[in-house]
Point group: C2
């Protein structure tokens, strides 16, 4: 019975990952500062004998007793308003925190999967993005604490591999959506659904012609576990290459919710990427992984979740 540490395990993707690992019969130590994660996400998991929870910031000294085989590092605020609230903490999480987890992995001879992000590509000039693309990040912009922080987190992982032979896996996670997204963290899908259900205007940044590719969370979690259990180090893109305009997503949400909200356009924020689409050829070839849930199915599940949450 394998023991996994999932940092950021009370977050959106993290909580689904904890659930999947428990369902596989594995033990999970969920580590979360609850800065952006939510206790509600892991409440149901506490019933599992294999589950334990530690409230802990990964940038603070972490002590774990007993064997650990796998460490999934999903600890970091991931939406712009959250990671910009304390940019210094965001950078510390991705440097001091990652160094601490590399040391933990080394001490336990565990494998560390680092949740990197499509944001390492910045506002990409190549489409779709392959893993070899070096990105187009503005180092001094308001998104840089996250983008550059995640880049240097990748650096540290590969230095851990080079210096100590630490088994690292780096996943570049593209936009993901599904139940348990925070309703208020400013992401496209949750924004639209929450606005539609409340009968408020759907705010589209710019003309809405910018594209996004959204991966349903169950597909993402399956990809993360597959990468962890593979022999590949990555970096490996995980995401859904099904590209849609932001405007189309707004329209689909309106149709699915039956909302009579209007779509309104507001100014594009600085450094907002114009287009983002993963090339997942590497994940397909290496892991035999690709997304299975269509946007229509996934949105339906997500709308159902928010309907229930908002009704609470």
């Amino acid at each position: 019975m394998r023991t996994n540490i999932v940092t950021g395990g009370a977050g959106f993707i993290g909580s689904h990952l904890c659930e999947s690992l428990l369902a596989r019969g594995e033990r999970v130590i969920c580590v979360d500062s609850l800065l952006t994660g939510s206790e509600a996400h892991v409440r149901a998991l506490r019933a599992h004998a294999g589950f334990s929870f530690m409230r802990q910031d990964i940038a603070e000294p972490l002590r774990i007793e007993g064997p650990v085989e796998r460490i999934y590092n999903l600890a970091c605020p991931a939406s712009p308003p959250r990671y910009q609230a304390d940019p210094f903490h965001t950078v510390r999480t991705n440097t001091v925190g990652v160094i601490a987890l590399l040391e933990l992995a080394r001490a336990h001879r565990a494998r560390l999967l680092q949740a990197s992000t499509s944001e390492v590509y910045g506002d990409p000039l190549e489409h779709p993005q392959r893993e070899t693309y070096r990105g187009n990040v503005n180092p001094i912009g308001p998104r840089a604490c996250y983008d550059e922080g995640k880049r240097v987190a990748e650096t540290l992982c590969f230095d851990g591999l080079r210096a100590h032979g630490t088994q690292v896996r780096v996943a570049r996670i593209f936009n993901t959506y599904g139940p348990q997204m925070a309703p208020d963290d400013g992401r496209v899908v949750s924004n639209f659904i929450v606005q539609a259900l409340a009968g408020e205007d759907l705010t589209v940044y710019g003309d809405g012609s910018q594209t996004r590719s959204f991966c349903y969370v169950s597909d993402m979690v399956r990809g993360l576990i597959a990468l962890m259990e593979s022999d590949a180090t990555g970096p490996m893109n995980l995401g859904n290459p099904d590209e849609r305009t932001v405007l189309e997503i707004a329209q689909r949400v309106l149709a699915l919710t039956g909302s009579r909200s209007r779509i309104v356009h507001v100014a594009l924020p600085q450094d907002d990427p114009v287009r983002r689409k993963p090339d997942i050829a590497l994940a397909k070839a290496t892991l035999g992984w690709e997304p299975q849930v269509t946007l229509e199915e996934g949105l339906k599940e997500t709308v159902a979740y928010f309907r229930k949450e908002i009704g609470k």
Copy 2:
């Protein structure tokens, strides 16, 4: 009488900067871990009443009493063998260290000049590099701890400006040479001179057609002070746009030293930039600054320094 902190003040550029500030009649607190800096560089400065030295790593808590008006952050190993020796420390210097100096600047209402680097451009695809170019850095390569570290250090400075109004200045320093370079840190100019004076083969990486633009250290120090005292935040390129092939530099060193060493070619290291040349239009327009020392004059001074050092 203004007080300056110069971190990395016992390093190559740092020691020249300390000397210049003292010559302007200012006070200097030199802070250096002596990890790569050298006590010998600041020995002569200790005679100045306005000079004091603290042996201190900037990533460790730093206490400075009394007023401070200017902080120049030049603390970081800067040559590949040195910054790769402990990549985790390199990243900590550029994150934990920079955060600490931003806090110090904020507490003292001081200005902070961050020594950034042309390495933020990685192996550039644009020539010459302007400050708006977002670079081409390999985030997982062996040079990344420095390149990505320096990028995120810039990020932190601009977050300091955005979050707290901290007065920051970011200089992107291109290749610099001159007396007090470490003889053994693997830089092109010092390597060639040391090899030529010792009668050893001059090792040129690849065919030597890759170009570098070398700025003499007195020009660089003048630029750093001018940027600090200006109203511009940067990032601002400081360097000499006089581009030469590595092979030409080797030949010039042979001619200047009268050495009978041969030139030999060895394999290019990973991620070695093919070409690097600053666009200094911004520094010219903003600071009225441009280099004045020719490569021939600068090499002569540098050869004279190494001749004396090696003769010791």
